[in-house]
Amino acid sequence: MVLSNQQIMGVFCAALVPGTAAMTWLWGWGVVWNLAILLCLCAVIEVLCKLLRQSPVTLTTFDVSTFVTAWLIALCLPPATPVLVLASAAVASIALAKHVFGGAGHSLFNPAMVGYAVALVSFPELLASWPGQAVDGYSGATLLSEFRYREGRTVEEFFDSQASAFSDQRFIALCFAAGGLVIWRLGLIAWRTSVGVLAGVTLCAMLGYDGGASTSYGSPYFHWYSGGLLLATFFVVTDPATHPRGHAQQWLFGILVGVVVFVIRAFGSYPDGIAFAVLFANSFTPLLNRYAERRKHTPEVEANRV
């Protein structure tokens, strides 16, 4: 089965549905609010950019990856985010990270992650409160930041105090993983980057694991399903425009993302480092591509150089 780019992006959106439905079920309609507004905003900005660049705007040439980008940002931001924050993320992703770099397929940095990171560093307090984790059951910090500042409790005590939040989180992560496995089975993603990310996080978490004492950085299992790791593993790092070509390079890229995610989660101030890790690894994509091309095309020229 050969799919066009447009169709592939459509399948990506479809694969995001189960996880999104789970989030809506557990956290309310705020998730759908984010999604609806971002889809509209991103589509409008996409059309405006196309007009500004004097390229034709028709229904058949409309870039469906815009919707994937909008969808990913909507899932990264806490439910019912104010419209202006959504708008700033949409402008940063579609205009700045995609069209300025030459449009679809040319972006060097993952547009969704640029949008999310811009919103995150611009409105840190606004984006720190998530539903369902605090005692009052309505809003609070994410599990990851609660875990980081758990004030001397051991991992087991912490799990007991947050049992329902943990099971919610696990359920959502599993739904995203299910969608991810479908697109993996269809052969639409570079699985090496995905497995690299999981390998990087697992390796670091195992090195830092001490059986769950009060200073523990968390077990690999905890890191797998918390935050947006599984979502990013299947849907973000596999963006074909921004991951490197070449198998070894894709492994390296994935592992780099995984390691940086763990370093930021364990030692940094931000609770989750997915966006920063992906952008950090994106900075090295051209360099990795360079080595991929060199080995492929010009081995003899390489040998002759001093």
Binding site: G102, G103, L108, F109, N282, P286
Partner: protein, 192 residues
Amino acid sequence: MGELAVILIGALLVNNFVLAQFLGLCPFMGITRGYDTAAATGIVTTLVLCLTMVLSYPLYHAILVPLEVTYLRIIAFIAVTAGVVAASAFYIRTTRHALHQVLGSYLPLITTNCAVLGVALLATKPDLTLLETSVFSIGAATGFTIVMVAFGALREQLTHSAIPAPFQGIPIALISAGIMSLALMGFVGVGQ
């Protein structure tokens, strides 16, 4: 060991000289058109940085501090940097012909790279030992080189993209550098 690792990671990533402290932007923007020049500049700057540190640390602690003329440290460090650059330029011109061809007129400009002076000034804080200072400068220089090399490759790839006319050249380079800097903002708090 832990202390040294914190200093190394701090200078390498968290307080990366180019992308977090915005020092040394002139070579970062000016000499990264191509990967080869960027890599060569990075390596030579690493050499110059480490040599400058080795010389300015004793200069500061053995001469400037006892004589109570630490206010002269900027002039003194610039003189040391210029001397080191002149020496390495002579060395490269006479023995590394290929490298000299790549770098050419950019070589003396390393003297005016504010990252070199910045590292010298930051690394002579009174509470740092010689070992810590060396680790700090190695971290800073490596961070500079990695960023230069990655950015050189990135700008080469940018030349193949269909970038809109108003953003071609320096604007798109500045936007890319901004996004790289955004990525490094995620490391805030690491090592504290």
